[in-house]
Symmetry: C2
Subunit: 282 residues, 2 copies
C-alpha cells in the first residue's frame, strides 16, 4: 500500500500528478520538493501536495516521482539509488527514455525503477498551470527494464489508470524514435518558425503589427510550441540527438522537394499524401 | 444601392459570404453559381443564396464576388471585363493578389474591380462547412489598384465591415510577401509534415496505430492543414512562387542550423528568440 508519495519537481507535470492523485481518491501524504520556493508554495496552495518536503522525505517515500528535466532525473537517480529501500518504487515522467533506462540498468539493477512518460503538457510550464485532468485521455507510456512487476509497481500503474490516462508499454529505444517524430520534431519546427519570425520582425519592425493582425489560426497553431522552455528541451535534444536530427533532416529534404516542385505535378502528390494522413486521423 | 449580388463559387468562402450578408441584414437577391450542383444546392438550402444562377445573372449583378481558386478568378475576370456595366463592382477573395491586380490593370483599367482577401478559412472546404460568423474578427485585406473609391465600392466595404471583419488596404506585392510568411509557409510545412508521416506509416505499418495514439495536440495542430485541398493551393503556389520558395528555403536553413546545434548553446538562442516571438503575441 502506497502511504507516502514524493514528487520531485513541482512544475506543470509534477503538480498535475499530485492533483490527479487527489482527484482519483489518494488520501495519504504527498510531499513535494522543488528548487523554486514559489513553485512548491503554489503546489501546496493548489492542494497537489500536503507540504514542501526535504531530501529525507524523498528517501522515505513509497513512491518517488521524478518530474524534472531528463538530465536532472538522471542526477536524482544516481543520488537515490544507493538509498533505495525494499518495496520502494522510483518512477519518472521524462520526455526521453533510452538514456534513463540505460542508467537504470546500472543503478537499479536489483529493481525498484519504472521509467514512464505521460504524453501531456502545455507550451508553458509551472505549478500555476497544473490541472487534475491533464492526463485525461492522454497516453502514458512505460518503458520497463524488468520483466516482472513488483506489487508497488502494479499499484502505481493502477493510479495512473485512475488519472484517466491510457497506458502502453514500449521498448525505450523505440519510444525515443517514435517521440522524435510525433513530439520532438513538432517542437523543433515550431521553435524554428517562431525564431525565424522573430528575426523577420527585428529586421522589418513595420511588419510586426501586420504579421500579428494578418496571421490567423494557422500561424498561432504552428508557433504555439515556440513558447516552450529551453530548460526542458535542452535535455531532450541532448539525450535524443540522433533520432531527432534524423527527423529534422528528413523534413528539410521534404521541404526542399516541395519548394522545387511548386509548379509541377509533384505538388499534387504531396497534397494527396498529406490529405491521406489527415483523413486517417481526423 | 446593391440590389443583386452574384457569388461565383459556392464553396466554403463563397457560401459564408452569402450567409454573412444575410446575417448583416442584406435583404435583396443573392445568386450563386458553381460547377458542382451539390455545392450550389447546399448553398441554397443553407439560405446563403436565393437561387442557383447562370452566366447572365453574374453579368447582371451589381456586385460579383469571385470565390474560386486564383487561376479560375483570373479566367472569370477575362470573361466578365468586356461585359462590365457602369456602377458594377467585381471583387474577389483569392489568396494571392499580385497576379490578380496585374490582370485587373489590363482588363479593368477603367475601374470596377476591387481585389480582396479575407484571412479566414478552414482546412476543409465546401458549402456544408460555411458559417455566417467565419469572418468575425478576421482581417479582410484589400489591394486596390485605383486611388478613388466608387460609391458601390464604399457600399461593399461597408458590408464587409458588417461581417465582423477588420479591413486593411495593402499593396498587392506586399500582401503576397506577408502572406507567404504567415499563411502559405504554415500550409506548406503542414503539408510536408503530413506527407512525410504518411510515408513513414506506409514503410512501417505497425507504427501507424502507435503514432496516432501517442501523438498529442502538437501533432494534430502541426498537421491540421495537411487536409487542405490541392485545387486551391496549386494556384497559390503557381501565382506566389518566388516569395513562397524564399520562405520555405529560409525555414530549411533554420532547421539545418537547429539540427547542427542540438548540443550547443546556439539551441538556447533559438528557444529564447522563439519565446520572445510568442511572448509578444500570446
Amino acid at each position: 500500500m502506497i502511504e507516502k508519495v514524493a514528487i520531485v519537481g513541482t512544475g506543470l507535470i509534477g503538480t498535475s500528478v499530485g492533483l490527479a492523485l487527489r482527484r482519483a481518491g489518494f488520501s495519504c501524504e504527498i510531499v513535494g520538493i522543488d528548487t523554486s520556493v514559489a513553485e512548491v508554495t503554489t503546489a501546496v496552495q493548489s492542494g497537489a501536495i500536503t507540504r514542501a518536503g526535504g531530501f529525507e522525505d524523498v528517501v522515505a517515500a513509497d513512491v518517488i516521482v521524478l518530474a524534472v528535466p531528463v538530465l536532472a532525473i538522471m542526477d536524482w537517480m544516481k543520488q537515490l539509488a544507493p538509498l533505495k529501500r525494499p518495496g520502494q518504487l522510483c518512477t519518472d515522467v521524462g520526455s526521453t527514455k533510452l538514456a534513463i533506462c540505460d542508467l537504470a540498468g546500472l543503478y537499479y539493477a536489483g529493481g525498484g525503477f519504472l521509467a514512464g512518460h505521460p504524453m501531456a503538457g502545455k507550451e508553458s510550464g509551472g505549478a500555476a498551470l497544473a490541472d487534475a485532468s491533464l492526463f485525461d485521455g492522454a497516453m502514458w507510456l512505460f518503458t520497463p527494464i524488468f520483466e516482472e512487476m513488483t506489487a508497488i509497481e502494479v499499484e502505481w500503474r493502477g493510479w495512473v489508470a485512475k488519472f484517466g490516462a491510457r497506458t502502453m508499454d514500449v521498448d525505450a529505444e523505440r519510444h525515443d524514435k517514435i517521440c522524435a517524430w510525433v513530439s520532438h520534431l513538432p517542437q523543433m519546427v515550431s521553435t524554428a518558425m517562431s525564431a525565424m519570425f522573430e528575426d523577420e520582425f527585428a529586421a522589418q519592425p513595420e511588419l510586426a503589427a501586420e504579421f500579428g493582425a494578418i496571421g490567423g489560426r494557422a500561424l498561432r497553431e504552428m508557433t504555439r510550441l515556440g513558447a516552450s522552455p529551453y530548460s526542458m528541451w535542452r535535455d531532450v535534444a541532448f539525450t535524443n540527438t540522433k533520432p531527432l536530427a534524423a527527423t529534422i533532416f528528413a523534413l528539410e529534404q521534404r521541404l526542399a522537394h516541395l519548394r522545387e516542385n511548386l509548379k509541377t505535378p509533384e505538388l499534387r502528390e504531396e497534397f494527396e499524401k498529406a490529405n491521406a494522413f489527415r483523413g486517417k486521423r481526423s
